[in-house]
Amino acid sequence: MEYTIRIGGQAGQGLVVIGSCLAKYFSRSGFHVFSHQDYMSRIRGGHNYYQLRIADRPVRSSRDQIDILVAFDWETIEQHRQDLTEKGIIIYDAVACRQEISAHEFLNVPVTAIIDQMQVHKVMANSVIMGAVLGLMGLDLEPFNEIIGDFIHTETEDIINTNIAAAKTGLDYVANKFVGRFSFKKPGHGKKKQMLINGNQAIGLGALVSGCKFFAAYPMTPATGIMNYLAAKAKKHRLVVEQAEDEIAAINMALGASFAGVRAMTATSGGGFALMTEGLSLAGITETPVVIAEVQRPGPATGLPTRTEQSDLSFLLYGGHGEFPRLVFTPGTPEQAFYLTNKAFHLAEKFQIPVLIQSDQYLADSEWTFSDFATEKLFSEDFRLRGEQLKKTETYQRYAYSKSGISPLAIPGESNHLVVVDSDEHDEDGHIIEDAATRKNMVRKRFLQKLPLIREEIASPAFYGEKQPKNLLVCYGSCFGVVKEAMENLSKGHSIAMLHFSEVFPFPLPDKFDFVKLLAEATRIICIENNASSQFARLLRAETGLNCQIKINKYDGRPFTLDTLTGEIHDHLY
């Protein structure tokens, strides 16, 4: 059992309220949900949509065809009508769309009329529509009544009740129409609720549970959601969230806070990251832990601010002047984003390096359902030299040489030891030097000695499918879900498997799991990337010498969808 609902209309018409509230309704009810958003860089007007996929088994991507289209305006009908399944229904309000259509798939819900009749504020239209959608699916208003308040940001009893009433009216209106069209078994209330979370929330939550205490950023779509999440938690969990004057300030503030002894983070998109690369290099030479989330949008420059692409991978791998160690994570799901953010803070502090988490608008705004996050796996070690332990340290040098290359990271001010860091090349004390010998030693300490140790922390790529596949799909980051489902679709009748890389740099070693052998032995390597130049395939070749024979790219600012991708892969199978 699975259904896809698409809600389309103009910016500011409440598509997100309806979409996210329905998503919550279904996840609460124990269903699996996957949603994604398609919106323009404007505040009112234009055309946006919100798409939900609901099923009784895990879903990880968006379908091309839709079962229910909720149309706020005529443009929505024109743009999306052809995506309807043959059993599909279009819910619309003839008044709002300025015309009545008799065609069988159209269901006119006179929202405007209902609102007038009920004599309630027109925002209630959203509840009427949600009621209608639920009614069409033969569902009731439980748990709608519990959750609606959160989505209209109110706790006022009667506002909530009016909305429930409005929903009821919408539900009753369609109740006896298309009966059984969407035969829908609603799980008993015993059924375990699912958690519903998107990529930005997952990174924010991951930072929170990792003890992030300082977050500085400059607003930039699609990364702003991370800042919004942490800002909302600032009071309760005692975080300082500072909006910087620009991205240069943002990363330098984070480094100042980290130097002072707290876990610090910043987040941005490609253009902001460009402005942070000098600071990234500063983190490198000063060995200051910092976590940077880069949520991609299509470039170059301003590009398509509200859309998605995977075109900044190489930039994250090599951005910043000079040579220093860094980690780059590319989570494929909100769950991975949550754990990798925690791992990012852990390793940033353990190795005193910058760690980059790369996401994109698709992952940032997509909601996924999970039964739960296993929190015992979380890292929560404190690597700082502080308190008594610091006080009883006899001599302290910020950059003392060591076998691992790691030097003690003391809190300035907590003892009479001085903490001296320098963006110039420096000696063990942190003071400027220019001699060749010290330079060499410092490059070894901070870079060459740490590198192998950092690399040991990198997990192998995730592997799914046939053990000795002829066709091996390769992907990273947000393509995880859609590639996995496509692979599953194609597994019947084909020798196929997939590798997903979520920890891309330093590149995983084949020691634990020999994925390199697997790649070398595959007849066909098919690399799937949401960009034009196959940046991951390039990384793979630089690391292994292996060439991906087939490259599937998408660079129109939209994510891959399941059905199209399945077809495209199919055309290339051996």
Partner: protein, 285 residues
């Protein structure tokens, strides 16, 4: 009680006769008077001749990027509002590359003590015009002479309602006065700017030690630094006579004072509870 020698740092790489030596020494005497131990404060600096200062002193140090002194200092203060934070920058560093951070640090009124070593030139990079260079000055990179108006840091700061705005001269006569002003600044709650006129013997042949010495004078004893418009008027004096002193002060709460969660103790000393944060997961069900 600390002594002058407690602050002895590395051997300075400045030119003989450079005004930076005087600033360094005055700062040491201020620290002695205030009895701030080396580990109790941090100097944040950028890149430039003046910015090398923390290495020549004993203290916690964040010697960061050219122009980015203030954001680092701000992050540091927000994470530890018990730490005395002094920012040392050059005129190019702070008024050129870092101009945007100056504006916004002043707006935040973060409790950072900014000392600008203003030699009216780019010293470390060998003599290009800085924002405070006299118009018309010909350099290797200003073939037609510097064509931009001279930036007036005091007027700028006053226009932004900076909570403490002063000018001093790093010359023999001016030193006790510089010391006094530095003390005042450190004792002031909020963002403080001291623009310190400093001679560069190697690259500024116009604004020499004597050029400054012959022009600087102190604002009158009865001068009222709380009158913003008057402060602005006085800040415009520059030429045959150059006023020094505290031009403007404004006792308003610092940024740190306005952040409720760091009033009991600084962020760096706050315990983190994994359990409490994990409760947030329930929001997603």
């Amino acid at each position: 009680m600390t002594t002058f020698t407690d602050y002895k740092g590395q051997q300075p790489a400045w030119c003989p006769g450079c005004g930076n030596y005087a600033i360094l020494n005055v700062l040491k005497t201020v620290l002695v008077d205030l009895d701030v131990e080396p580990h109790q404060f941090t100097i944040v600096s950028g890149i430039g001749q003046g910015a090398k200062l923390p290495h020549y002193l004993k203290c916690n140090t964040f010697n960061g990027l050219h122009g980015r002194t203030l954001p680092v200092a701000t992050g540091l203060r927000l994470a530890n509002n018990n730490m005395l934070v002094i920012a040392v920058a050059g005129d190019g560093d702070c008024y050129g590359e870092g101009g945007n951070h100056l504006i916004h640090a002043i707006r935040r009124n973060v409790n950072v003590k900014l000392f600008v070593h203003n030699n009216q030139v780019y010293g470390l990079t060998k003599g290009q015009a800085s924002p405070t260079t006299a118009p018309g000055t010909i350099t290797m990179t200003q073939p037609f002479g510097s064509l931009s108006a001279q930036l007036n840091p005091l007027a700028l700061a006053i226009s932004l309602d900076c909570s403490f705005v002063a000018r001093a001269f790093a010359g023999a006569a001016g030193l006790p006065f510089l010391k006094e002003i530095m003390k005042e600044a450190i004792n002031h709650e909020g963002f403080t700017l001291i623009d310190i006129l400093q001679n560069c013997v190697s690259f500024n042949k116009v604004n020499t030690f004597h050029w400054y010495k012959d022009r600087v004078y102190q604002l009158e004893k009865n001068y009222d630094p709380t009158d913003r418009v008057e402060a602005f008027r006085r800040s415009l004096e520059w030429g045959e006579k150059i006023p020094t002193g505290i031009f403007y002060r404004n006792e308003k709460a610092s940024l740190e004072k306005n952040i409720p969660i760091i009033q009991d103790k600084p962020l760096v000393n706050q315990k983190f509870s994994l359990a409490e944060t994990l409760e947030e997961i329930s929001d997603f069900y």
